[in-house]
Amino acid sequence: MKLITAIVKPYRLDEVKSALQEVGVHGLTVTEASGYGRQRGHTEVYRGAEYQVDLVPKVRIEVVVEDADCDAVIDAIVKAAQTGKIGDGKVWALPVETVVRVRTGERGPDAL
């Protein structure tokens, strides 16, 4: 199994959710996040003062999938989140040792 973590622009969240449903992902976790990448945020002018906004608001989407589905799910997320402009985000995957469904105690892929 793999844990896929995607950091995307907040306004692409609905698109990503729809795309994940289409490729058969049943559950996900979303958290609000902030961070920066290669551009280190941007500068803003407010009330005559210019300042650096380095932590830009993002959403973090986490899903656990079976190994065989990993590439397809990543592709679906990237396609849905992409705008082609800076700040589109990142997606990465990590191996997962085990997963347990708390209600039933099922383990492994059955718990997904």
């Binding site: 002018v45 407010y46 009330r47 005559g48 300042y51």
Partner: protein
């Protein structure tokens, strides 16, 4: 404001009714200011900001009734500099006492509401970092040593600015706007900048609250300016319309600059622009024509929108722009009387534009410099003294955590344990238990 005449005429019920309403309107400005300022600070010290305004109502009222009124509006005791002690504790003033065409008690209360908001205005310069106990001492001392003398100079019987020099100030450019702005500058210089000044963004946490506060200020300002006619008459109506007009052009001027300079018209800019226009028309609303009011408001809106940026270049943390709006706007309004004063409003004095030459302008400048320098110097002295004795500044930990939780044991919003300046604090629980066990 018409100068004090001690010749008691009969009470006019119409004038009295309007001034009663106007006094309540001006008092409402201070809670309005609390919201205006409260919305501009960060979530962790909003209650402290509100408290500084609310305690000003209580503190200044007590000081004013004890001695302030007598020293400001009592019979002149020394060359137009200060009033006498005849009315300490409001002695000798009863329900039958008459001031012009209104009861003296009402006149004294109307003037009190001006003293209250002037003290509260200063708090904007010291947001998020002042020791609350020091503010409780500062306000009454400042009211007696700074506000009261300047009010006497300006509106007291025989005061040197209006009665002797012949400068004009209808509703408080000198005692309210310039005094609060110069005092705010002195106080924030002694106090030093907030942690993270010029590094962190420190944007307003609640702009709807700012807009509500600005609305209440504007509403109350009709009592402030039109009430200063001290009667229900044509002068009050002219001041009322001038007040509306200048607030509007101030708002438009500030938004125009923001759109050109920053690319966005902001709600904070609209609120600040309206206030800048209102500040500038305060001294001038009873002496300029409608054209003058429109130009004065616009000038203040444009100039103040730049003035609020000076603190970043000159390194003084006037947190909520008391200097940029009240000092600068107050100077603009008071000085431009010398340009736009119209005989139909003043009953004599004329500005540069209407053929009055430079005479009135010169008098206005003398008054502005004297009041600004006096307020700055005396406030600087009070602040230094408080800093050396009580300490003026909250501890670094209090400032970082927020004054709401550390000083008042409250937070404005429940953001959960990890949210916005209301961190898990073990220090609150033991102190609460201690209180219980002692009881």
């Amino acid at each position: 404001m018409t100068t004090v005449t001690l010749a008691a005429q009969g009470i006019d019920t119409g004038d009295t009714a309007w001034l009663l309403a106007a006094t309540a309107l001006v008092l409402l400005m201070t809670p309005g200011l609390a919201l205006f300022y409260g919305g501009m600070v960060r979530t962790k010290s909003v209650l402290n900001m509100l408290m500084m305004s609310f305690v000003s109502i209580a503190l200044v009222t007590v000081v004013w009734l004890a001695a302030g009124y007598s020293l400001a509006f009592g019979e002149d005791a020394a060359a137009g500099l200060i009033g006498g002690l005849d009315h300490l504790g409001m002695a000798g003033i009863g329900p039958d006492s008459v001031q012009g065409t209104v009861p003296t008690l009402l006149f004294a209360t109307f003037q009190l509401t001006f003293a209250i908001i002037t003290a509260a205005l200063i708090s904007g310069a010291i947001a998020d970092r002042a020791k609350f106990g020091a503010w409780l001492v500062f306000v009454p001392v400042w009211a007696l040593l700074v506000y009261v003398p300047v009010a006497h100079w300006t509106w007291g019987p025989g005061g040197w600015i209006l009665d002797r020099l012949g400068a004009l100030d209808f509703a408080g450019g000198l005692p309210v706007e310039i005094t609060s702005g110069a005092s705010g500058l002195a106080l924030c210089l002694v106090l030093g900048p907030r942690l993270g000044f010029k590094k962190d963004a420190m944007r307003p946490h609640n702009l709807p609250m700012v807009m509500l506060g600005a609305g209440l200020l504007w509403f109350g300002w009709f009592g402030f300016n039109a009430g200063s006619a001290l009667g229900a008459n044509g002068l009050a109506a002219a001041a009322f319309l001038n007040t509306l007009a200048a607030g509007c052009t101030g708002l438009l001027g500030w938004l125009f600059v923001e759109q050109k300079r920053d690319g966005h018209p902001t709600t904070l800019g609209a609120a600040s622009g309206a206030v800048a226009g209102l500040v500038a028309i305060t001294p001038s609303c009873g002496s300029v024509s409608l054209l003058g009011a429109l130009v004065i408001g616009l000038t203040a809106g444009v100039v103040c929108s730049y003035a609020v940026g000076w603190k970043f270049k000159l390194n003084y943390d006037d947190s909520l722009d008391v200097v940029g709006v009240h000092l600068v706007g107050g100077i603009i309004g008071t000085v431009l009387i010398g340009v736009f004063a119209a005989a139909e409003m003043t009953g004599g004095a004329e500005g540069l534009l209407y053929g009055g030459g430079l005479a009135q302008l010169g008098k206005q400048l003398v008054a502005v410099v004297a009041v600004g320098a006096y307020a700055f110097a005396v406030t600087y002295g009070i602040a230094k003294l408080l800093d050396k004795t009580l300490g003026l500044r909250a501890s670094e930990e209090q400032e970082h955590t927020g004054l709401d939780l550390t000083v008042h044991a409250e937070t404005a919003y429940d953001h959960g344990v990890l949210g916005h300046g209301a961190p898990v604090s073990s220090s609150v629980v033991p102190s609460a238990q201690k209180v219980k066990s002692q009881a």
